[in-house]
């Protein structure tokens, strides 16, 4: 049913008052016949009918006010004039024509010609805006580590701000950094809510579920593949008899917990043994580059920690300068921070050697992937109570464990690795059940 709407009679007029209906309900109306008188702030006008037919219903009475575009009366009519005058008058005078947004009305910005929808722009990963450079300089950030969410992967100001607050979450680690360790156990990566917030998995027709890859997962996948493809690994297993270590720990762990407030695990002992061995065999504490093998002076040991979303490898810096107690505290601290996602940038960077306590899962043998930037990674497998034949031929129940090492065969040979492992074994086996923990 066509309606007569309040006409727009002039600039800045937004409403009008019906002063007099010249036709009543049920009246026949000719085209262009004056039908109603309205008054606005600027003018009083008679409105000629845009329809020919019958006025069926008056919607706004004399004396009432209606905004421009509001319906005033209904007709039973043939629209003789195309009510263009009516329809291109939106109720809100703000927009003169409601053209669809997208293609129809290209936006003139920075020039009269519209901006093309997909501009050809160079890949932006290495193009940094002034503010990004400024922030990087102020906070001593390696921008290559920062994940970019801008177009074409550009690192934005907000990306840097997020990275400063939570570097673990917003890192795209380059080949040198050990933020992620790949083991046959489920690998993981610094979690961030958005990074892990993969879109909901979609069910496939056969009942399978497709879990879309989160950004973190993609990153891990890329790094793992990179490590796998570029580092030629070799692998070795050594068995150590840690019976005395076990006895030592059993005897001292309660007192330690009471005094130190943190549990005494085997990890501090493992780290000490590794560090001692690295001092003797520094070639294992190195980074392989095309320009040469950089043997590190410091011993920063990455200690893998299992968190609910996977594995994180915080770094115990200068592990060679720490006592058992010191290592115990630090490992517990780092573990807690890792679980709470509060690790700082320094706490996940710069490992020179990595230790993964796969034994915690009950594993007896593992074949870890070498973290890019290091030449070796060692696992400590589960301690098992097994029968062994002693020197004198008798059987004894011993606590034994496997130590597995993967090493970069570009930088190291089996002999070097073997000697290192023998040192680790010797250090562990030299622990006496009655020695001082401190």
């Amino acid at each position: 049913m066509p309606t007569l709407n309040m006409p727009d009679v002039g600039e800045s007029v937004t409403e009008g008052t019906i002063t007099r209906w010249l036709k009543g309900e049920g009246d026949a109306v000719q085209l262009d016949e004056p039908i109603v008188e309205i008054e606005t702030e600027k003018v009083s006008v008679e409105v000629p009918s845009p329809f020919e037919g019958r006025l069926t219903r008056i919607l706004v009475q004399e004396g009432e006010v209606a905004p421009v575009g509001a319906p005033l009366a209904e007709f039973d009519a043939e629209q003789k004039t195309e009510s263009r005058e009516q329809s291109d008058r939106p109720a809100r005078p703000v927009v003169a024509a409601a053209a669809p947004l997208t293609a129809a009305a290209p936006i003139a910005t920075n020039g009269a010609s519209p901006v093309p929808a997909t501009p050809e722009q160079p890949h932006r990963t290495r193009r940094y805006s002034p503010v990004v450079l400024q922030l990087a300089s102020e906070h001593d950030i390696d921008l290559a580590l920062v994940r970019g969410t801008g177009i074409e992967g550009r690192v934005t100001r907000q990306d840097v701000m997020r990275y400063i607050e939570n570097p673990v979450a917003y890192t795209v680690p380059p080949s040198r950094e050990a933020g992620v360790v790949g083991v046959s156990a489920p690998p993981a990566s610094p979690p961030a809510p958005s990074a892990h917030a993969a879109a909901a998995s979609t069910p496939a027709p056969d009942g399978d579920e497709v879990q879309p890859l989160s950004a973190t997962r993609r990153t891990i996948a890329a790094r793992m593949l990179d490590a796998h493809l570029t580092i030629p690994p070799a692998w070795m297993v050594v068995e150590a008899d840690v019976s005395n270590l076990v006895r030592l720990r059993e005897a001292t762990k309660e007192g330690f917990q009471r005094t130190e407030g943190v549990p005494l695990t085997y990890l501090p002992f493992f780290v000490q043994a590794v560090v001692a061995a690295l001092k003797q065999h520094p070639a294992l504490n190195a980074t392989y580059t095309d320009e040469g093998v950089r043997v590190h002076h410091a011993c920063h040991i990455g200690v893998a920690v299992a968190v609910e979303s996977g594995l994180i490898v915080p770094v115990v810096r200068d592990a060679d300068r720490k006592s058992i107690a010191g290592l115990a505290h630090e490992i517990v601290d780092l573990g807690a921070k890792a679980r709470d996602r509060k690790l700082s940038l320094d706490e996940v960077r710069g490992a020179t050697f990595t230790l993964d306590n796969t034994g915690a899962f009950g594993s007896v043998i593992s074949q870890p992937l070498i973290p890019p930037g290091q030449v070796a990674i060692m696992t400590t497998e589960a301690i098992r109570r097994e029968l062994r034949v002693a020197e004198d031929g008798s059987f004894a129940a011993r606590s034994v464990m496997n130590l597995c090492i993967s090493f970069d065969h570009r930088a190291l040979d089996g002999a070097q690795a073997g000697m290192f492992m023998r040192s680790v074994k010797e250090h562990l086996e030299a622990i006496r059940a009655d020695q001082q923990v401190y």
């Binding site: 800045s12 009269a112 100001r157 907000q158």
Partner: protein
């Protein structure tokens, strides 16, 4: 506090100042019957034809006579019926008023106000829709304001009337009856040269003025629903620009979109962009963008062409999204 329309706020400012200043005169064409927009409604009866003056149809002398009145102790508020018709008066505004104090080495001042309804979107076509602020903001010696709200309309007009120098007061004609807002009854001014931070957000900054400030806020609302948070700065004064506010707003996000209805080239947006580029370079995270009226001789009468010319909340939202994603 009462809700007042933009036009009523202007009228109230004029009435209150006319009461306060016995030598204030409003002059222009059709002023006595209220003016073509009814801004000066009722003033003749209250203040008489000496102070509410209908001038001949001669823009140059409307301003020239106002300058003379100001020289001899009056407080003149001259009206150009439309900003589009101010050009014959540009000689008086630019060669005379703007330079009056400077050329006389502070021997004389020129405290005039020139009011003009400005801007389009009202089917006014080429000669009832223009924006003239860029041409005038370019002239040292002039102050140029473009209030976007009823509150600012009243406060800035009072400030203009009280200012010792020539102030060009560009009323947004589309706002007259369209915009309502809270306006205090008691006397207040809005300082000339001070922008208004309308909204805060860390994702991008939008700088605008006049009716477009409202369009920017509407676009910002839409984007907020999608988690994109914008800072919106309403310049209010175009000369002198509030550099501090501009730079603060730009530095906060590093991404700036400037929006105005005036033609793009040579518009205020270019000046704002240059200020930011020069003084906030290290804070920039994206190239500075401008969204403005097309570079054609003002907006045509046809509704579809007028809409094509004008920036709008829809177009602004698209530009804002692009910038936020950059």
């Amino acid at each position: 506090m009462a809700e007042t329309t933009y036009i009523d706020a202007i009228r109230d400012a004029l009435l209150e100042e006319m009461e306060r200043l016995p030598t204030m005169v409003v002059l222009g064409e059709d002023i006595q019957e209220g003016g073509v927009f009814r801004v000066t409604d009722g003033m003749l009866d209250r203040f008489g034809p000496g102070r509410v003056l209908d001038t001949p149809l001669a823009e140059s002398s409307i301003v020239g006579v106002a300058i003379g009145m100001a020289t001899n102790g009056c407080v003149p508020v001259a009206e150009m019926q439309f900003a589009d018709f101010a050009f014959p008066a540009f000689n008086q505004i630019i060669s005379e008023a703007a330079k009056w104090r400077y050329r006389s080495n502070n021997g004389w001042g020129c405290p005039i106000v020139v009011r003009a309804p400005s801007g389009g979107g009202i089917r006014g076509a080429l000669y009832h829709s223009q924006s003239i602020e860029a041409m005038l903001a370019h002239v040292p010696g002039l102050k140029v304001v473009a209030p976007a709200t009823p509150y600012d309309a009243k406060g800035l007009l009072k400030a203009a009337i009280r200012d010792p120098d020539p102030v060009i007061y560009l009323e947004q004609k589309r706002a007259y009856r369209l915009l309502k807002g809270e306006v205090p009854a008691e006397d207040f001014t809005v300082p000339i040269g001070e922008a208004a931070l309308r909204r805060e957000g860390d994702d991008l900054t939008v700088i605008s003025y006049g009716m477009m400030a409202h369009e920017c806020l509407a676009a910002a609302d839409e984007l907020a629903a999608d988690g994109i948070r914008a800072t919106v700065l309403d310049l209010r004064t175009l000369a002198p620009l509030d550099r501090e506010a501009i730079l603060d707003a730009a530095k906060r996000t590093g991404k700036v979109l400037i929006v105005h209805e005036d033609n793009l080239t040579g518009g205020i947006g270019g000046e704002v962009a240059a200020i930011i580029a020069e003084h906030a370079f290290d804070s920039l995270d994206a190239p500075i963008r401008r969204l403005a009226g097309l570079d054609v001789p003002s907006m045509p009468y046809s509704a579809v062409m007028e809409a094509y010319f004008m920036p709008s909340r829809e177009k602004i939202a698209v530009a804002m999204r692009e910038l936020a994603a950059y």
